[in-house]
Symmetry: C2
Subunit: 278 residues, 2 copies
């Protein structure tokens, strides 16, 4: 059993020192609560709502830059795993990236494969698989925001054996019918339930240049129900839940079914070419 | 714009005449409400909780048997499309099947590909794709119960251009945390939102041999929010919502994104062989 934390941070575009301080404070709060794995939002260093690519470039840093280096120091100091998003400069190009660090240093960098809206003017999409990294906690998968809306992508880490999917996000708010929960949370629930894994979502708060946020930080259990959150309030928050890799490795559902073995890959076409013109 | 109805029926194993009468009454109610497409639950003729394969066999009938033939008569009389589940006898074998009929007669039979629990002792799983049928309403996809929990299966009909996915189900109840909606409804929401299509779920009610039901009949819109239902009460119900194929063919999400074109099929592995032993 490992205590997992997700940190909902108030971030501000163009204020990397403040943003790093917010992350540092949240990590301290998570450590005090007993967490061994801390998930941080998307683009922690830079903020999200760039005036354009030029501004983003001034805020980007490499994976050995000040932000991820600080996470490595915190991970070493507290024997933690930290997963968080950062605006990355790599070979002269920008990526919407997510780092995993532990006491041993940088473990993985994932570069967001599905870019949302104006991100397409700023970032180069990633070309690699969503990582599934063996850690002291178990097998942790990595994903950023809009990635979670692609069931194929989620399935790829489920089938690769992920015990927990760490989602760093900045979910922009959109209208939600009265009495409903934002549907993005249903995506997190179904990602969990379809693969019987944990899904830990770290969202952000604090409106930025007129963009508000879902503030949907939450930890979903393998049955698809929240163990913590969703926050759904515009405030910083650290949520924790105790997660058990044993529960995530039991893919049984009901007395005789199994979420992965019951698949019928013989029947699933390679659907990539089937998009009708409409 | 077409008015779509889902009928939550009180069914009883071993009482096919009563079950057909319940379906007939619900179709009449849907017609009176102006519906042109009516979705009925899974295994309408037979009920669900069989004592065993032998009992199921006594209740099975071919696709030109009394149940589907009655649906054809109703479809002709009222110029309807009806989609509903039935216990099918085909070439000496039993299938958990779903028929689509319209004024022209039988349009399609789908045989459930993902069998739940004791269904495995009774039915032979289907070997064909989930159909997407061109109708006067638009392109209607067909699926039964547990099928909906396989994102690949749902994606296959989304990419084939389905405007609406008709789900005939008997969702057995399982424990739900206080304040939560049964996660099966999240599956329906995400199926809709991930593909910007309608999802019309016809569930059943009335406990049968000790098994209770989610009673989750509902119609989800292309943004993943309910347009009608979920009922979540153990009573027969007919729900209607007006559905527009134009809305289902607009796959845009936000100003610059598209739920299908944003896929990265270059990155999605053929995941069938990647299930780890755990």
């Amino acid at each position: 059993m490992t205590r997992v934390a997700v940190a909902q941070l108030g971030l501000h575009v163009g204020r990397p020192d403040d943003n790093r301080a917010a992350a540092r404070a949240a990590v301290a709060e998570a450590v005090a609560a007993g967490a061994r794995l801390v998930v941080l939002p998307e683009l922690v260093n830079s903020g999200y709502v760039f005036a354009g690519a030029a501004e983003a470039r001034t805020l980007a840093e490499p994976a050995d830059g000040p932000t991820v280096s600080e996470w490595v120091r915190l991970a070493r100091a507290h024997d933690l795993i930290i997963v968080g998003g950062f605006c990355e400069l790599l070979d002269g190009r920008l990526h919407n990236s997510q780092a995993m660090v532990d006491a041993g240093g940088l473990r993985a960098v994932y570069r967001k494969a599905h870019l949302w809206d104006a991100e397409q003017d700023v970032f180069v999409p990633g070309d690699g698989p969503a990582p599934v990294v063996d850690t002291d906690f178990g097998r942790i998968a990595m994903m950023v925001c809009y990635d979670l809306e692609f069931p194929e992508w989620v399935r790829s880490v489920g089938l690769a054996g992920a015990d927990l999917l760490a989602v760093s996000t900045n979910w922009p708010a959109s209208p939600v019918p009265a009495g409903e929960r934002p549907v993005l949370l249903a995506h997190a629930q179904v990602a969990a339930a379809s693969n019987r894994m944990y899904v830990a979502v770290a969202d952000r708060c604090s409106a930025e240049r007129g963009v508000g946020w879902v503030c949907g930080s939450s930890i979903m259990g393998p049955r698809g129900y929240p163990l913590a959150g969703p926050v759904l309030e515009d405030r910083p928050a650290v949520l924790v839940a105790d997660c058990d890799t044993g529960a995530a490795r039991d893919k049984a559902v009901g007395p005789r079914n199994h979420v992965h073995r019951d698949r019928r890959p013989d029947l699933y076409p390679d659907a990539g070419a089937r998009i009708p013109a409409t």
